[in-house]
Structure formats: C-alpha cells, structure tokens
C-alpha cells in the first residue's frame, strides 16, 4: 500500500506521493484522454470520459465493468485552481460524494491529498470484485490502526 490513508466518521483522506512534477500529475486529472486511462477499478475494461473542466462544468465517466456492465459516474466541478486543487461532487446512482484533490509541488515529486466525504452504499467495483477481498482485509487492518481524523 503506497498511500497514507486516514479514516474519519464520514471522511476518507488519502495522501500519495508521485514521482512526477505537479503540472503532469494535474494533467492526468484534467485531460479526458489521460484520465480515462487510469480511472476505474481492476474490473473496468473501458472508460469514456466527457468533461467540461471548469467551475460549474459537468463530467460523465461511463465505465464498462466486467461482470456488471455499464455504469456512469457523473458530477460537477465546484472548484478548480490549476495546478493546485480540484473539487467536485459526484453521483454514483443515488447518494452524492464530495471530493477535494490537492496537489503540492515537491520539485520532481508531487504530493497529492484526496479527501472524500460521503460514501454511497453502492460501490459497484466492490460489489463486482466479491472474490478479491484480500486487499480489503489488508486495508481493514490498516484502517483500524490509523488514528481517526477528527471533525471540526
């Protein structure tokens, strides 16, 4: 597990260092052609991204997931500060999640911090990958040993 994960009552925070300069990391969130190459879980075979990358703009990612079919991840950008921050809210069939991603310049590296608030009780990827619980178990033990992120 490369990321640092913190879990709170209603919030997930993931911190990860990438060996790439910040503009490049940001580009992989901003350009649909680049984003669709890494978006989706292991069972996702194809992703089609349509994005209006601006504050108030909408996006739709259509994912083809083996064993489950086609699913859409839709949302809207709430805040964009290039190349520092992207905030959006997304709908995965019912409940809304708020996601804020921040990018910190560390020279040849970039520290990326992602905060997700809200967890729709319908994680498609989790439902599909019923058999691969090993990574979840690892995370469970990690999560239980992490300090809780306190809410203001």
């Amino acid at each position: 597990m490369k990321s640092e994960v913190k879990v709170g009552d209603n919030r997930l925070q993931i911190t990860r260092i990438f060996n790439a300069p910040r503009p490049l990391v940001f580009a992989f969130w901003k350009d649909p052609e680049r984003l669709q190459q890494w978006w989706g879980c292991k069972n996702t075979t194809k992703v089609d991204c349509s994005m209006d990358f601006r504050v108030g703009g909408s996006f739709t990612f259509v994912m083809q997931i083996t064993g489950a079919g086609e699913f859409s991840y839709k949302g809207q950008y709430d805040e964009i500060i290039e190349p520092e921050k992207i905030a959006y809210h997304a709908d995965m069939g019912g409940a809304i999640t708020d996601v804020v991603v921040e990018f910190f310049d560390q020279g040849a590296q970039t520290k990326m911090v992602l905060n997700q608030v809200g967890f729709p009780a319908q994680n498609i990827c989790q439902m599909v990958s019923q058999g691969t619980t090993e990574s979840f178990d690892k995370l469970d033990s990690l999560v239980s040993s992490q300090a809780l992120v306190s809410q203001a």
């Binding site: 490369k2 990321s3 990860r16 990438f18 060996n19 890494w38 992602l114 009780a121 989790q126 990574s135």
Partner: protein
Amino acid sequence: MLDKRKAVTAVFAALADPTRRRILERLAGHGERRVTELARPFRITLPAISRHLRVLEHARLIRRRRRGRTHFIRVNAVGMTSAQKWISHYAAFWESQFDELDNLLELAQQKKKPN
C-alpha cells in the same frame, strides 16, 4: 447484502450530522454517560437530543440502557466497524486507480527522456 447496505446507509446518514458526530465524540473513551450529562454542552432542547440519539441508536452507533427513568448511553462498536469497513472499500478503490496513475506517470516521463 441488502440488509448490509441499509445498515451502512443508516450509519452514514447518522454521521452526516455534526451534532451527532459531536455526541459520538463525547462518548468516545467514556464508557457510559447519562443522557442529561451528554446533552449538557449542546444548546438544543432535550427532545432534540433525544431525536439525535434515536437516529444513532437506529444506526447501531450507540447502545442505550434504561434504569428507571435514567437512560445511559454508550458507543456501539458494531455500527462504527461496519462504517469503517465500507470506507476502507473506497480506499481500496482509489488505491488501485492511483497505482495505475503511478504507472502512467512513469511511462509519460520515460517518453520525454532523450535516448
């Protein structure tokens, strides 16, 4: 599976409210507390606190013990554990995506290097 989803939804709905989160914080590490004692710092009415407690109880985040008219409240580990398990599934989801992003970033930079 459906029951599990309902249970998890109840937990997150319960946790979405800041007053309820603060109630849980006040209970953490304190064992049992009387409702009246629990309610003290909150500037809302006792019936309002009771409503919050019912939501938390329904989500299995707290347990209630009655002794005559006195109600004692404590954290229920069952609810919190299921919430954290679910959150960990999302952490795994992001992790696999970031692993892929990692690979792509490495590839992108290799292309830029002169031969």
